[in-house]
């Protein structure tokens, strides 16, 4: 076992960790917002919207994330330069990067899984609580904002923690579209130094550490908001 390379590669490792965390945070935050819309559309949207949200979830949950990522990066990415004016616009430096495509595809994928979790949680909120809020004269939007959504998020919290860990474990796929994330750093170290296992081990320790961090954080939040029925 030879870990002497760590001293020269640690800035790269740190940068990779930042990219990984950034991908995770972006996809979870935006994915969660999208998931709320998708879950509500499935529960009481008009028929067309309901059908659309349901097929979105089926399609994104039924295909591998790797294919979605490649479809976006290679497929849509190869069509983008055909859009007139886009190449010279201020958006191009962002749209050129693999990171953008990774962030978008991870967000869309996370939203599909999270929407299913939220759908279940929204249905699990006791009916009496919603009826009570309605009886107080709250509008539908206010019931959603004050009672229905917070209650369901609390119910779903343990599952959400699990989903975030799953999302973290999916982020190494970004290396296939040139993102310099943690895994990509391990790959680069392997190419430079011909060490196979040591970089993988170091990077794995990082991932396990991040997993522990996420689970610990959720434990603390769960303890703060105790659940009583």
């Amino acid at each position: 076992m030879n870990f002497s390379w760590v001293s020269t590669y640690w800035p790269l490792l740190a940068a990779g960790a930042v990219q990984t965390v950034l991908l995770l945070v972006i996809s979870v935050v935006f994915g969660f917002i999208l998931a709320i819309g998708l879950a509500l559309a499935q529960i009481n949207g008009p028929r067309g919207l309901k059908w659309l949200a349901r097929s979105y979830c089926t399609c994104l949950r039924g295909t591998p994330l790797l294919i979605q990522l490649w479809l976006l990066y290679y497929g849509v990415g190869s069509l983008l330069p055909l859009v007139p004016g886009l190449r010279s616009s201020f958006l191009w430096p962002v749209l050129r990067e693999g990171f953008f495509f990774a962030a978008v595809s991870f967000t869309l994928n996370y939203a599909a899984y999270e929407a299913e979790v939220l759908r279940g949680a929204l249905l699990a909120v006791p009916k009496g609580e919603i009826e009570a809020a309605r009886a107080f004269g709250m509008s539908r939007a206010k019931v959603l904002r004050r009672i229905w959504l917070p209650r369901s998020i609390r119910i779903a919290l343990p599952t959400i923690a699990g989903e975030i860990v799953l999302q973290l474990k999916a982020t190494p796929l970004a290396f296939t579209v040139t993102v310099m994330d943690l895994y990509a750093v391990a790959y680069k170290v392997r190419q430079d130094t011909l060490l196979v296992y040591e970089p993988l081990i170091v990077v794995t320790v990082f991932y396990v550490f991040l997993t522990l961090l996420v689970t610990r954080a959720f434990k603390i939040v769960e303890a703060q908001v105790s659940i009583r029925r």
Partner: protein, 240 residues
């Protein structure tokens, strides 16, 4: 030349169309998934029984296995096991004075994914066994059934309905995880698609087609697991 072909021609199953490459990729995806799933079930049963009835060192070792596999990203596991496996076998051969061998990509893929599946299977099957009412097993013991007979006649039929939802999820995840094998270079659907797309420059078309093939695999599997569940739950009281 490729621009002269229409989209339909590109997808035709015979050359110069790439449909055949995609379809054989899909077949190897299914084959890899079935193989890995089978190995996973074997490891899962052994692991679950080991965790439930084994001695302390065995339980600790199994805990280490399931925790490690579930905490490490799939891609890293697959790449790591792929290299460690092929490397390990060749080192053993070298130590025995034999020439190194080229390990069959299919076997490597199935083994690696099987080991990953096994960890999840262990937990699913352990939960399913624990969910069997104790009275049923006590009754079997009271009838004087040996452990092997008890397992075959009572535990196995009783755990299947409990385990089916988890098993269905694992099948879905193995069909999708098999796409990761593309990263280590064995040609299944994902890599075949990349090949076709790279050669023809019709990236969108081919990745879309591949997505549809994966979707078809999941939808068909959904139907199969739905009817399996219906069959194994026959005779059970239905929830209102």
């Amino acid at each position: 030349m490729s621009s002269a072909l229409s989209l339909l021609e590109l997808l035709s199953p015979y050359p110069p169309g790439w449909g055949g490459v995609l379809l054989s990729g899909a077949l190897s995806t299914i084959a890899i998934s079935l193989g890995a799933y089978g190995i996973g079930i074997l490891i899962g049963f052994a692991g679950a029984l080991g965790k439930l009835t084994g001695g302390r060192p065995l339980v600790i070792a199994l805990d280490l296995y399931t925790t490690a596999v579930r905490a490490i990203p799939e891609l890293i596991l697959i790449v790591g096991l792929y290299y460690a496996g092929t490397d390990g076998i060749n080192r053993v051969l070298l130590a025995a004075g034999l020439p190194p061998i080229e390990i069959n990509g299919f076997v490597a893929a199935v083994t690696v994914l099987g080991i990953v599946q096994g960890a999840y299977m262990t937990e699913v099957l352990r939960g399913a066994i624990l969910a069997i009412p104790v009275g049923q097993i006590e009754a079997a013991k009271a009838f004087g059934m040996r452990p092997s007979l008890r397992f075959r006649r009572i535990v196995l039929p009783a755990l299947i309905p409990n385990a089916l939802p988890g098993l269905a999820n694992l099948w879905m995840s193995v069909t999708k995880d098999s796409a990761l094998i593309a990263v280590v270079g064995y040609q299944e659907l994902a890599l075949a698609t990349r090949l076709a797309a790279g050669n023809t420059k019709h990236y969108f078309l081919f990745f879309f087609a591949a997505a549809l093939l994966y979707l078809a695999i999941s939808l068909v599997s959904n139907v199969i697991f739905g009817s399996l569940e219906l069959r194994f739950r026959r005779g059970q009281a239905k929830n209102a």
